[in-house]
């Protein structure tokens, strides 16, 4: 607890964030009551399956979701004390790319196929940092070298299609880092890459983070990636936080049945061999047919009748460790 106060005020503080989508079939709540703090130099891993709301959370942090169909229903996103939700368009423009950058799974979604990568890296430099054409070009060469692109000066004239997937992701990371952001959001940055390339990109992110002292939000479905990279982990299910804890704690003693299920369903890699993988039954609920009470109850082996009634609140179950499960203490006693 003392450590927490010593570490100072958070760089980014998200409080009770709720995001709704307007659809033909009515209003759905994609993210419901997400809260976390992030300090400089720290990495928060957000884990969840498709439809868990992890990407929507990331997009909302920069207000990138279309306002016509999305509404931030509740909450605060405080970046150094300023609320991004209340920011004006011009303030937002400054925050995006300058204070907070985002890297997506598919690098081509961030790259313009008909512009050279030199032009694309120089653009934010000239826009945000007001560099001259020549200065921006020099900075771009530095950045490309920094992210490990071989012969950076020559590659300024390349088009995205001339690069491999791993190199494109490096270019996108270079663009994201161009203005030395305080927070980098990486949304499944290595999911589309091969394992050896994934390892390279994660090494790169780790190195850049320690050099630049950035805070990183890493969104992924891969608990292995989280274990190697994150300091804290937030597990989401059906739009809600189900568990949050320091990474070592989560892997050693996950408290929510969903987190436990996720961890168990990873095929073991050591000498251990299993006849059958302990799978989680059923499927992720549709947002149009959310189960009553705890959204995980239809798939939970421990669900009781109370779980059908009440939505569980996050409750502390250890230092910096919270879980949203009605039966968390009971189950703990069972396992003990």
């Amino acid at each position: 607890m003392l450590m927490g106060t010593l570490r100072g005020t958070p760089l980014l503080s998200v409080r009770d964030l709720s995001v709704q989508f307007r659809t033909d079939q009515g209003l759905i709540t994609a993210v419901d009551g997400v809260s976390f703090d992030l300090r400089a130099g720290q990495t928060l891993g957000i884990v969840g399956e498709s439809g868990s709301g992890k990407s929507v959370t990331a997009m909302s942090l920069l207000r990138l979701l279309p306002p016509a169909t999305t509404r931030i229903a509740r909450g605060e996103i405080l970046l150094e004390g300023r609320d991004i939700i209340k920011a004006s368009e011009s303030e937002l423009e400054r925050i995006r790319g300058r204070d907070v950058s985002i890297v997506f799974q598919d690098p081509m979604s961030s790259l313009n196929p008909v512009l050279t990568i030199g032009r694309q890296i120089c653009e934010p430099l000239r826009l945000h940092l007001k560099l001259s054409r020549a200065e921006a070009k020099e900075r771009a060469v530095d950045l490309l070298g920094f992210v490990g692109i071989p012969s950076p000066r020559e590659s300024l004239g390349s088009y995205p299609h001339q690069l491999s997937g791993g190199q494109r992701q490096r270019v996108v990371i270079a663009m994201a880092l161009a203005c030395r952001p305080k927070v980098l959001i990486a949304d499944e940055p290595t999911t589309a890459l091969d394992v050896t390339t994934q390892a390279q990109i994660l090494d790169l992110l780790r190195e850049l983070q320690s050099k630049l002292h950035m805070a990183v939000i890493l969104i992924t479905h891969d608990l292995g990636v989280v274990a190697e990279f994150a300091d804290d982990v937030l597990v989401m299910y059906a739009g809600r936080m189900v568990e949050k804890s320091p990474v070592s704690q989560l892997f050693a003693r996950a408290r929510h049945p969903y987190t436990q299920g996720l961890l168990n369903s990873i095929p073991p890699f050591g000498d251990q061999e299993l006849e059958k993988l302990p799978a989680i039954n059923g499927t992720v609920p549709s947002p149009f047919a959310m189960p009553s009470g705890c959204a995980f109850h239809p798939r939970c082996t421990f669900a009781s009748s109370a779980c059908l009634e009440a939505v569980p609140e996050l409750a502390s179950c250890g230092p910096n460790h919270v879980a949203a499960c009605l039966r968390v203490t009971e189950l703990e006693r069972m396992h003990a």
Partner: protein, 339 residues
């Protein structure tokens, strides 16, 4: 003559894709050898996993085995029958015994057909009666964890995991013996992945199926395979028993692949062999050993000579100069991969 227990045998398979000169083609490019002299055997009832990174030729390999793509040269022997020399009628009967499961099953479904019709399609093509098709669909649905009433629904009403179950049911429809699973769980969420993997292993036991399991996920392969073949740029660089390969990978590429797998063990030292660079294009295959530009142990000979495949003491086959030198195995122990 193959041994009685061998179901599939590929010998020196080569697939060269020739360049097509479209209107945008500036110059005639070189042909691409996606699969370049690959030989292996699959025993009845086993799961051979084919692993490697994108572009290594593993999916092409799977398609060559069932002649969805015609090999440029080489042989495929299925249960004693030479697949590439079989006449149309023979081939059609053999083809029924070999099925394919895709990564995205929905891409192979007609969205306007009901699930029942989709599952029955291979049977209709094989000339089953309407009645028999209906009965078989009824048998298959519970086998893959779906319910009777699902037969009247359409594919879009199902989640990714359920669609994969439909794909599996369809592949089982005509009682195949050999199923090529091409990244069957890669597009699925973690919790669903485990369900489908369990289903595949259950069905294998129940129907004595033989699998070629193509995957880039070494965690899944570690669980499901009996033997593993590692492919790099159109060649198999190491093939052998799963336990041997995972506990003591010999080829530097296998070592790097296994070391790169992120494990759910926070705090684990990450000082492992990192590969530099990326898989080269199959249009520009490096000289000598094709892995040498990325290999941390490359020696002068690796730049010049293509390593022959040697058999190690534990029955593994490895194509690496360093391995054959350090284990002092003479390359003539096996015919070289190159034709």
């Amino acid at each position: 003559m193959s041994e009685p227990s061998t179901l599939v045998r590929a010998k020196n398979l080569v697939k060269e894709f020739s360049p097509r000169g479209g209107i945008f083609a500036r110059r005639k490019g070189r042909g691409v050898r996606a699969v370049d002299g690959v030989s292996f055997e699959i025993q009845r009832g086993e799961t051979l996993a084919l692993v490697g990174e994108s572009g290594c030729g593993k999916s092409t390999m799977g398609r060559l085995l069932m002649r969805l793509i015609e090999p440029t040269s080489g042989e495929v022997d299925f249960d004693g029958i030479e697949l590439l020399k079989a006449n149309d009628a023979d081939f059609r009967t053999i083809r029924r015994r070999i099925q394919l499961i895709f990564q995205d099953p929905a891409s192979a479904f007609n969205p306007r057909m009901t699930v029942g019709a989709i599952i029955a399609e291979p049977m209709r093509l094989a000339g089953f009666s309407r009645e028999r098709c209906r009965e078989r669909v009824k048998e298959l649905l519970p086998l893959v964890g779906l319910a009777d009433f699902h037969a009247d629904r359409y594919p879009h009403e199902f989640s990714g995991g359920q669609r994969q179950r439909i794909g599996i049911a369809r592949s089982l429809a005509v009682h195949p013996e050999f199923i090529i699973c091409d990244e069957p769980v890669s597009a699925l969420d973690v919790s669903i992945q485990a369900q489908v993997i369990n289903l595949l292993t259950d069905l294998q036991k129940q129907f004595d199926l033989t699998y070629l399991f193509i995957s880039h996920d070494l965690r899944v392969v570690r669980h499901i395979a009996d033997r593993v073949a590692v492919m790099y740029l159109g060649r198999i660089v190491e093939i052998g028993d799963k336990r041997a390969i995972y506990s003591r990978p010999l080829h530097p590429y296998t070592q790097a692949l296994i070391a790169a797998v992120p494990l759910p063990e926070p705090g684990r030292a990450t000082s492992h062999t990192r590969l530099t660079g990326e898989i080269p294009s199959a249009q520009n295959i490096p000289s000598g050993c094709r892995f040498h530009p990325r290999c941390p142990y490359a020696m002068p000979i690796c730049h010049e000579r293509d390593p022959a495949t040697v058999v190690t003491g534990d029955g593994r086959q490895v194509a690496c100069h360093l391995v054959s030198q350090s284990l002092d195995i003479q390359p003539q122990a096996l015919e070289p991969q190159r034709m």
